[in-house]
C-alpha cells in the first residue's frame, strides 16, 4: 500500500520504538526510501529524543546531594522498620 506523508507521520513514534506491525513497517520503509521530508522528520525526531534523554540537559543544583543525604540522615535517627516476620501477610 502506498502511504501518504501524513499517514507516515502517524507511525513515527512506533517506528522509533520498533513496535510497528511487519506490514506497516514495510510500507513506512518504502515511503522513507523516496521521501526526503519524511526521512528528515524521522531523523530530527530521533535526534531530539537522543538529546532530551541526555542527563546533561538538567543539572543538579550545587549542594543537592549533601542536602538530600543530610535530610535522610535526620530521618534515619531513631527510625526502625518493623521486625520482619512479626506481621503475618494476609492473603485477602
Amino acid at each position: 500500500m502506498v502511504l501518504e506523508c501524513k499517514h507516515v507521520w502517524e507511525h513515527i513514534s512506533g517506528y522509533l520504538d520498533g513496535t510497528l506491525d511487519a506490514a506497516v513497517l514495510e510500507d513506512v520503509q518504502k515511503h522513507l526510501e523516496h521521501c526526503e521530508i519524511c526521512s528528515a522528520i524521522l531523523d530530527s525526531t530521533r535526534n531530539i529524543l537522543i538529546l532530551t534523554a541526555d542527563e546533561r540537559v538538567f543539572e543538579l543544583p550545587l549542594g543537592f546531594s549533601e542536602r538530600l543525604h543530610a535530610r535522610l540522615e535526620a530521618e534515619m535517627q531513631g527510625f526502625s522498620y518493623k521486625p520482619r516476620g512479626s506481621v503475618e501477610e494476609s492473603d485477602g
Partner: protein, 211 residues
C-alpha cells in the same frame, strides 16, 4: 564515560541484597542504594514542576517516602522503576495542589488535538556535544516544560527515565494504547518546536564559532 560507568555499577550491584540489609536494620545503606538515582529523580521532578526549589523539595520527599516505605517494595519491578513511580506521584500531588483551572482545561483541550511535525527537507545531526551550550540545554528544558502535562508525564517516563511503554502506562494509571498515543504526540510536539530552533542555533559551518 562516567555515565556508562555509573550505569554499569547500578546494574551489577545487588540491590535486592542491599534492600534486605536496610530492612534488617542497616538503614545507612540507603545512602548507597539511592546514590545512582539522585540525578534522574531530580530531573524528573524538575521536568514536572518547572521550578528548581520545588523540584529539589519534591525529590527529597520522594527519597524519604521510598525510605519509609521500603518494606512495601516487592522486588517485582526494579527499584529504580519503583522510585520513579514514587517521584511521579509526589510531583503529581504537588501539581494538583497548585494547579489552576486554566491549565487543566488546556490539557483537556489538547487531548483530542492532531499534531503535525515541522517539515524539513534535510536534517543535519546535532551531536550531544551541543549540550555543552547552555542555550541548547535551556531550549530543550523549555520545550519539555511547555508540553501539556498529560504529554509531559509520559514523555518523561518513557524517553527520559527509560521506562517501557507498559511500565509508563502502569505508573500513570492509563491504558497502554493511551500511553502510546500521548507519547507519539509528545514526541511530534517536541520535533515541531525544537527542529526549527535547533537548526537555527546550529547553522551550517557555524558550529562553535568561537573556537
Amino acid at each position: 564515560m562516567d555515565r556508562e560507568a555509573m550505569t554499569a555499577t547500578s546494574e551489577n550491584r545487588n540491590e535486592a541484597q542491599m534492600i534486605a540489609s536496610i530492612l534488617a536494620g542497616n538503614t545507612h545503606e540507603f545512602h548507597d542504594l539511592i546514590q545512582p538515582y539522585e540525578r534522574s529523580v531530580y530531573s524528573m521532578a524538575l521536568s514536572m514542576l518547572q521550578n528548581e526549589a520545588d523540584a529539589e523539595d519534591a525529590a527529597q520527599e520522594a527519597f524519604l517516602k521510598a525510605f519509609r516505605s521500603l518494606e512495601k517494595f516487592r522486588g517485582e519491578a526494579k527499584f529504580s522503576t519503583w522510585l520513579i513511580s514514587i517521584t511521579l506521584n509526589e510531583a503529581r500531588s504537588r501539581l494538583r495542589r497548585k494547579k489552576t483551572a486554566k491549565t487543566e482545561s488546556l490539557d483537556e483541550l489538547n487531548e483530542g488535538g492532531h499534531v503535525s511535525p515541522a517539515l524539513l527537507r534535510d536534517w543535519r545531526e546535532i551531536p550531544s556535544e551541543a549540550l555543552e551550550r547552555q542555550e541548547v540545554r535551556l531550549m530543550l528544558q523549555d520545550a519539555i516544560g511547555d508540553l501539556p502535562l498529560i504529554y509531559r508525564e509520559v514523555f518523561v517516563l518513557r524517553d527520559m527515565e527509560d521506562l517501557s511503554v507498559n511500565q509508563s502506562a502502569e505508573a500513570l494509571g492509563i491504558s497502554v494504547a493511551a500511553a502510546k498515543v500521548r507519547l507519539h504526540r509528545a514526541r511530534l510536539m517536541l520535533q515541531k518546536r525544537l527542529a526549527p530552533q535547533l537548526k537555527q542555533v546550529m547553522p551550517k559551518r557555524r558550529w562553535f564559532p568561537w573556537f
